[in-house]
Amino acid sequence: MASLKALRLRINSVKSTRKITQAMKMVAAAKLRRAQQRAEAARPYAERMERMLASLGAAVAGQPDAPKLLVGTGGDAVHLLVVVSGDRGLAGAFNTNVGRFARNRVRELESHGKTVKILGVGRKATTYLKREFGSRFVGEVSFANKKVVGFEDAAEIAATITKMLDANEFDVCSLIYNRFKNVITQTPSEQQLIPGAVPEQEAGEAIGAQALYEYEPTEDEILAALLPQNLAVQVYRAILETTAGFYGSQMTAMDNATRNAGEMINKLTINYNRTRQANITKELIEIISGAEAV
């Protein structure tokens, strides 16, 4: 049985761990609220963008010279996966989940004979995937030293993707990230960016209205400007959802850790008290038997 001193030290150490995890949980909760607000604030833009794209996409769809960003290169041989994860750990299985999802996807694609390229966004999944697929990496981005990830950062990633497409470096591009369902549930999922799925027009009034739109300058020119912007919006949304999900996941993880530390403290305290009592009893027995012998 451990000595009393060792037990006391152990209890103190677990207590300070609990303090840390509790503080981290509260910080994560505050950051989660802010991240959720930002995700919410970005939604109107994405929605309106989608609406415009739907009417424009319908106008140019089927044209032979439709922009590559919309219809892709026509091939299916080279896949670019953009994997978005958190930059920090201590968030339960959050980063591992998206990493594992990406790994399975890479294996699946390669077993079908496709070439895979990976663009890592966020440090955690990048290091996770690099171990196995280091040679497939074409780039990595990290926001670890940034307090707030802005739209410009997403636009930069989108510009990288566009540049690669112009150089014919891939045929299909998908985004892999943790979709933010709610604070406790984030599911890793894949979203295809290029060739882009033209958003479905809602039936009825939308179609009637869309036929009447005038474009200035031409449809093609607007679309050429709108598509890269849309790509940036998609990337931005993935980053925002990842940020929100990360803090949600961290909050849950830290909550669990705090609870586990509490349980541990209780167990250790019982153990400590028992040991102390046993020592006292032992001493008493020694004294009494000593007195009887006299």
Binding site: R38, R51, S55, G150, F151, A209, Y213, E214, Y215, E216
Partner: protein, 137 residues
């Protein structure tokens, strides 16, 4: 006077959503005044100032660096790349930006493709519009 719904969004947030009487939009091919009942259009924006009129008076002046606008008879949606109220523009910032864009344009003018040159040109014009707006404010 009749009004239409003006929605003004940047990628990061919804900046404005309320009924207004008139909006003047810097469309790619010239300034465009929009009144209620305008025929439906989708236009690209160049850098410039959007002027909003409510109750017969100019109530809001916002600088946009570029973007798109969707016009329908009852609603105008402006998707701005970047938006700042004119009152908050600073001349020094604008000058720095013009200098930076001029340099980028000079670099692009040398060897880049026509599209890149156009993009650099658009950015330069947007920066100049920003400077002009900052000076006027």
């Amino acid at each position: 006077m009749s009004t239409f719904q003006l929605e003004f969004v940047s990628p990061e947030k919804l900046l404005l959503s309320r009924p207004v009487e008139m909006a003047v939009i810097p469309a790619a091919e010239g300034e465009m005044g929009v009144l209620p009942g305008h025929s439906p259009m989708i236009v690209a924006l160049r850098g410039g100032v959007i002027t909003v009129t409510e109750a017969g008076q100019v109530s809001e002046r916002l600088f946009v660096a570029g973007g798109f606008a969707e016009v329908t008879p009852s609603r105008v949606t402006i998707l701005a790349d970047e938006a700042t109220p004119v009152a908050q523009l600073s001349k020094a910032d604008a000058e720095r930006r013009v200098a930076k864009c001029e340099k980028a344009y000079d670099e692009a003018a040398g060897e880049a493709t026509p599209e890149k040159r156009d993009a650099a040109m658009a950015r330069l014009l947007a920066a100049r519009a920003m400077l002009a707006a900052a000076e006027a404010a």
